[in-house]
Amino acid sequence: MSGAEVIVRGLNAVYLVREGTIKAASNVTLRVEPGSVTALVGESGSGKSTVVEAITRTLPSNAKVLGGSVLFKGVDLLKLSEEEYRQFRWREISYVPQAAQNSLNPLQTVFEHFADTYADVAGSIHRSELYEMAAKLLESVGLDAGVLRAYPHQLSGGMKQRILIALSFLFKPSLVVMDEPVTALDVVNQSLILGLISDLHRRYGISILLVTHDLPVAGELADRIAVMYAGHLIEMGSNEEFFEEPLHPYSKGLVRSMIAFSTELSGVSSIPGEPPSLLNPPKGCPFHPRCPRAMDICREQEPPLLEAGGGRWVKCWLYGGKA
C-alpha cells in the first residue's frame, strides 16, 4: 500500500433548499500530498463535509456541483459515472463517515459486514479466506478475531470505530477519508483511536484525509493542515508552521481560541462576531465582517489563493495578490 495524491481544484458546490441556495463550497482548492495525513479543519458551516462528499461521491440529491475538479490518479472523480466510480470505492478510496458507529447494520454480524463489502466490490470469495483476511485486519486495529461473530449492539463505541477503520482497509486503498473519526467517543477512546490511526499510517504509508473541527486533534496527527471557513479554503500549510505562525486572520483567531493544556490559557480568546449565513454570504472575503485587519478590497473582492512560500497557501489580501 502506498499513498496517492488528491488535488481538489476550484470546487464549487451548492445545496438547493426551500429557503434558497446554500453556497457550501466556493472555489475550494486543496491538495492531499501522497502518503501524508492532511487535516481538513473547519467549524460548523465551513463546508468541509461538502468537500468530503464531493471526493467520496456521497453528495445528497439536493446538492449540485457547479464546477471544479477532483484529480486522483490522473482521473477527475467528479466526471466519472457512478459505475466508473465504483472501481475506486473501497479499492482506491475508502471513507469512514461521521458517526459511523451508527452505520453498522444492527441485524448483521461483523463478519457479515466484511462479507457484504467484499461482495459489493470484488464479487465472491471463499468464506474461510475472507475470514482470515478479516481476522488479520481486526488484529491490526487491536481487536480479537472473536469480534467477527458479534453484533453491533454488543460492542462499545470504540470497538465499532475500530471495525469501521478495519473495513476501510479491506482492499488496501491509497486514500482513506475519515470524517470526525473520534468525535463521538469518550476521551480515552479518542486518544486510543488517534494512536491507532497514527500507527496504521506509519505502517502502510497511505494518504489520509482527516476531517475534524477539533484543532488539537489535527495538531497531534497531521502532517499538513488545511483550514476552511464559510465554504472557502483559506489556508493550507505544514502542521508546525501553521501553529507557529498562522497566516490568515481566521486561522490566528482559531488557534488563539484553543483551550488545551499545551497553550497558555490566560491568552485565549474567542473570535468576535458570528459565522456568516451560507445562504447570503458577505461580498468579497467571507471573513471580512469579523476580521480585525479588513481592508476596503476585502469587502469587495474575494481574494485569490496565494502562495506564501514553502508550500504554504493563504486566501487573504494581506499577503498580496492585488492587481
Binding site: V188, S191, L194, S257, I259, V268
Partner: protein, 347 residues
C-alpha cells in the same frame, strides 16, 4: 447564610425494568458538597459519571433517593410548595443544548421579557437591553425580534444565561455550556460565566467532560471536582488537581486530553497507556450501589482493598481524593506539553 446549596451524602438511583427484572442504576452515590456565595466550581466527568444528575439534584429538578439537599440552610424536601418555587428561582440551571433550551417560537426579546414581567420589573425594555449587554449580545436592539434560529450556538447559550439572570439568581449551574458550541466561540461563553462570577459575584458551577475547559473556568480561585461512576473521586483547587492529580482516573483524564503539538503525541499516548488497562475505554457504568470504588473494573492499580468503601480524604491542603491506592501510584510530573511544565511550583 453564606451557603447557597449543601448536599449531605446524596445518592440517586434510577430503577428500570419490567415486572420480572428490575435494574437499579445508581447515578450518584454519597455526594457531599457545599456551594458558597460567589464560589466557582467545575465538575468534570464523562457521560455516565453522574455529573448531570448531580447538577439536576442541586437545582431541584431531581429528588435524591438518599441524603439531604439544603437550599440557603433549609431542607428542600421539607419546603412548602410556595417556598420551594421562590427559592428555586435563585438557583438557575442552564441546559447543555442551546438548540432545545430556547423556545423556537419566542423572540429574543420575549425570552427575556416574559420572566422580567413576571417578576414585576418596571422598565422591561431597559432591563432586557442591560441583560443582553451583560452577556455580550450587542447591539441589543438589533436582536430584539430575532428568533433563536437566527443565532449561532455560542450566542444562544449566552441568551440562555441571560434568561437565567432575569431572576437575579445566586447560583447558576451550567451543564456542558460549550460542548455544542463551535471552538472559536467557546471562550466567549466561558468568559461570560467568568465575568458573572468575578464581577457580579454570582456563584457559578460548570459541568464539563473536557478537563481543559474545566481548568480554564476554575483556575485562579475555583474548585475542580472529578466524578466517576456516580462518585466524587477527587476535588481541590483547580491548579492543584491539574498539576498534581492523585487519583489514577484523574491522571488518565489529563493524559487523554489532546494537546496540539505533534512532537508530544507519541509520548502522551505512552504516558496514557500506563494509566489505562485493557478494560479502559469502556464507558464507565454507573456504580452498582455499593460503597466500593466504582473505578475498580477499569483501574490498572486495583487491589483487594479497593472493594472496601472509599471516601474523600484530604491529601494536601484543600485537595481531597477518594482512592486507597494513592501510595502505590507512580510519581507524577506535569507532562512536558503542559505550558507550565517548567513551572513546578504552580500549586
Amino acid at each position: 447564610m453564606s451557603e447557597i446549596v449543601k448536599l449531605e451524602n446524596v445518592s440517586k438511583v434510577f430503577r428500570r425494568g419490567g415486572i420480572l427484572r428490575k435494574e437499579s442504576v445508581w447515578a450518584v452515590k454519597n455526594a457531599s458538597l457545599t456551594i458558597a456565595l460567589g464560589s466557582r466550581i467545575a465538575v468534570v466527568g464523562e457521560s455516565g459519571s453522574g455529573k448531570t444528575t448531580l447538577a439536576r439534584i442541586i437545582t431541584g429538578f431531581e429528588k435524591p433517593s438518599e441524603g439531604y439537599v439544603y437550599w440557603f440552610g433549609k431542607r428542600v424536601d421539607e419546603l412548602p410548595k410556595k417556598d420551594f418555587e421562590k427559592l428555586r428561582e435563585k438557583i438557575q440551571y442552564v441546559h447543555q443544548d442551546p438548540y432545545t433550551s430556547l423556545n423556537p417560537v419566542r423572540t429574543v426579546y420575549d425570552t427575556l421579557a416574559d420572566p422580567l414581567r413576571k417578576h414585576g420589573v418596571d422598565n422591561v425594555e431597559e432591563k432586557v437591553k442591560e441583560l443582553l449587554r451583560l452577556v455580550k449580545i450587542t447591539p441589543p436592539e438589533y436582536f430584539f425580534n430575532k428568533f433563536p434560529y437566527h443565532l449561532s450556538g455560542g450566542m444562544r447559550q449566552r441568551l440562555a444565561v441571560a434568561r437565567a439572570l432575569t431572576a437575579s439568581p445566586q447560583l447558576i449551574v451550567a451543564d456542558e455550556p460549550i460542548s455544542m458550541v463551535d471552538m472559536s466561540l467557546r471562550v466567549s461563553v466561558l468568559d461570560v460565566l467568568l465575568g458573572l462570577n468575578r464581577e457580579v459575584g454570582l456563584a457559578v458551577m460548570m459541568i464539563s467532560h473536557d478537563i481543559a475547559a474545566a481548568y480554564y473556568f476554575a483556575r485562579e480561585g475555583g474548585l475542580l471536582l472529578v466524578m466517576y461512576g456516580g462518585r466524587i473521586i477527587e476535588c481541590g483547587p483547580s491548579e492543584k488537581v491539574v498539576s498534581n492529580p492523585f487519583h489514577p482516573y484523574t491522571r488518565l483524564l489529563l493524559l487523554a486530553t489532546p494537546q496540539h503539538k505533534r512532537s508530544f503525541f507519541q509520548e502522551r499516548i505512552s504516558m496514557m497507556a500506563r494509566y489505562a488497562s485493557a478494560k479502559s475505554g469502556v464507558a464507565p457504568g454507573t456504580g452498582g450501589g455499593g460503597d466500593a470504588c466504582p473505578y475498580v473494573a477499569s483501574c490498572p492499580f486495583a487491589a483487594p482493598e479497593c472493594e472496601s468503601p472509599i471516601e474523600l480524604k484530604e491529601i494536601e491542603a484543600g485537595h481531597y481524593v477518594a482512592c486507597k491506592r494513592v501510595d502505590a501510584l507512580p510519581e507524577w510530573t506535569p507532562p512536558p506539553w503542559y505550558w507550565f511544565a517548567s513551572k513546578r511550583d504552580v500549586a
